[in-house]
């Protein structure tokens, strides 16, 4: 772990995300890097293909801000609240302008897995007797070489950039996550470039004390960005809760293109990075999201000399 990969968010996004790239900000409900999404908006990236199982508020904001050309996804919504209205505005009706490439959850997981494993396809028992292979001709049947059974295949997904939020990493990018793991590991290994955003930068010895907890090795990481509350309004297990108030507020904001524009002005373009966003949210709001304590306990790896 020789050199440090620590960078500012502005540096990391400028260096790794280019117009036209396929970008995946992953994390299933948990650990969604809103901080990175906002920086991409601020840097006015264009023509991005945004991949993600669940285009959440963050992609609704990015689509609303005009960075995206296309979505690759499996479930489109504001979880527990309703629809994504900025996305709906450009996908419904005669003037639908956002390209969609649609799978199921396991199909997306399989695509990242095939990408990570350098496989030309991933097989799964899904899609039988549905219209999904018609809507998306990249979902293709394949016969087993044993007994002629039919399954479906999805193609590998290898994003140019994958951005992962995590509880902690060391300077070399060795990253540990607990709580929901989603498909962050598969997505990161499938990526050409990985940016890790963390709540906390820790010493290498903290990572090395519990190597089974490491989800992403520094080997595949381009940059480590330290951004406490960087997943707000989503959550970071053990650090803060989902800020549900914002998920509810977004429903109203996103229904109105001009309200959305004002929100971006105020909370994205108008703040100085994530520090500005945190300051604007205020200490009290952030403190109200802190959970009580539920320690994992420690196990012993043994010292073998």
């Amino acid at each position: 772990m020789s050199e440090s990969k620590v960078a500012s968010m502005a540096e990391a996004i400028a260096a790794s995300v280019h117009d036209g790239d396929t970008v995946a900000i992953e994390g299933f409900t948990h650990l969604i890097s809103f901080a990175a999404g906002h920086e991409i908006i601020r840097q006015r990236k264009r023509d991005l293909t945004l991949a993600r199982l669940t285009p959440d508020l963050i992609y609704d904001q990015m689509v609303g801000a005009g960075v995206a050309r296309k979505l690759v996804f499996s479930w489109l919504g504001n979880p527990g609240v309703g629809g994504l209205h900025a996305v709906r505005r450009v996908t419904e009706g005669a003037s639908a302008s956002l390209e969609l490439e649609e799978y199921s959850h396991f199909g997306m997981v399989g695509r990242y897995t095939a990408g990570a494993m350098n496989l030309p396809f991933f097989p799964l028992r899904s899609y039988f007797e549905t219209d999904l292979p018609i809507a998306n001709p990249l979902i293709r049947p394949i016969r087993s070489p044993y007994g002629d059974e039919l399954v479906y295949a999805v193609p590998p997904l290898k994003p140019d950039v994958v951005i992962i939020h995590a509880q902690r990493a060391d300077e070399g990018g060795n990253t540990q996550i607990w709580g929901l793991l989603g498909c962050q590991k598969e997505a990161a290994f499938a990526a050409k470039r990985v940016i890790v955003v963390v709540e906390e930068l820790v010493g290498e010895e903290v990572i090395r004390a519990d190597p089974n907890r490491t989800v992403i090795p520094g080997l595949i990481v381009e940059a480590v960005v330290v951004e406490p509350f960087g997943a707000h309004p989503s959550y970071a297990q053990g650090h803060y809760d989902r800020d549900n108030r914002f998920y509810l507020e977004w429903d109203a904001i996103s229904r109105d293109a001009r309200a959305l524009e004002r929100w971006l002005e105020e909370w994205v373009y108008g703040v100085t990075g994530r520090a500005g966003y945190r300051a604007k949210l205020g200490e009290e709001r952030l403190a109200s999201l802190r959970p009580g304590s539920a320690p994992s306990g420690s196990v012993d790896y043994g010292d073998y000399r």
Partner: protein, 264 residues
């Protein structure tokens, strides 16, 4: 007085009746794939009443959840803390669901047909829809790989349709053609086996067609026929759903949804 007004005249809500009816259908089942909202409450009610050994699996990657509060979403941190196991989605969908460990999966739907085919993708044309819905998420693999599927949804002429606009999840694969398809494709599951609505409960007959088996208290056959686009098959002995017991209502109101988020 229309159906919903008549139901409103009882001392429980249509949502409460749906939840209670769904929970009762879980009797004898062991492992359930949980969605948030009505299914979450139904499953937890079953665990407290008819299926005390029920194990809960959340698609976010949680097995054996023990939530300390009502989860706000399917990935709420409260389902993680003190769970038995937390795992990747690869493993959850691959080993638990596709591996055949799930007895019952719950699905909602925007549209359903008499065969249990479900649309949760678009209303209208796929390329230029009038309404863009969430899409499959895990629904299409749940429908195929869970041993059976319970559908829970409100009933209307717009949702119980003759032809769905998009087939997101396959219906009940019974009948001769179904048997062939299932063998050729190695399906584990029996597809949708129960549909629970705000008006009644349906099961599927040998030919894979939805059959009305019970009407919720205060609902007539005419009410049901008025809220669907086809003439339903009706059980020879159509019964009235037993109303929620006092204990079921207490659990729903005091324990599972004290703020009435899902049940009012």
């Amino acid at each position: 007085m229309n159906a919903l007004e008549r139901v409103a005249a009882t001392d429980f809500s249509a949502s409460e009746m749906m939840i209670v009816a769904a929970a009762r259908e879980l009797a004898g089942r062991r492992v359930c794939f949980v969605g948030v909202g009505l299914p979450n409450i139904a499953v937890n009610l079953a665990k407290l009443t008819v299926a005390t050994d029920l194990e809960l699996v959340y698609e976010a990657g949680v097995f054996g959840a023990r939530p300390a509060r009502l989860p706000l979403s399917i990935g709420d941190p409260t389902i993680v803390t003190r769970a038995t196991a937390v795992t990747s989605m690869f493993e959850l969908f691959g080993f638990y669901l596709q591996g055949g460990l799930i007895d019952v999966g719950f699905l909602g739907a925007a549209q359903i047909d008499r065969f249990g085919n479900i649309n949760s993708t678009v209303i209208g044309d796929y390329a230029h829809p009038t309404t863009r819905l969430p899409g499959s998420g895990g629904a299409c693999e749940i429908a195929i790989n869970a041993r059976e599927v319970f559908v829970i949804m409100r009933q209307s002429r717009r949702s119980f349709v003759e032809h769905i606009d998009f087939r997101t999840s396959p219906g009940n694969p019974a009948g001769a053609n179904g048997a062939r398809i299932r063998q050729e494709q190695g399906w584990l599951g029996a597809g949708p086996s129960v549909v629970i609505t705000d008006l009644g409960v349906y099961h599927f007959g040998g030919e894979g067609v939805m059959r009305l088996d019970s009407l919720h208290p205060g609902v007539t056959l005419e009410d049901v026929q008025g809220e669907m686009a086809w003439q339903p098959a009706v059980a020879e002995r159509l019964v009235e759903t037993a109303p929620p017991t006092a204990e079921e209502l207490r659990l729903v109101r005091d324990v599972l949804d004290p703020d009435g988020i899902y049940t009012r």
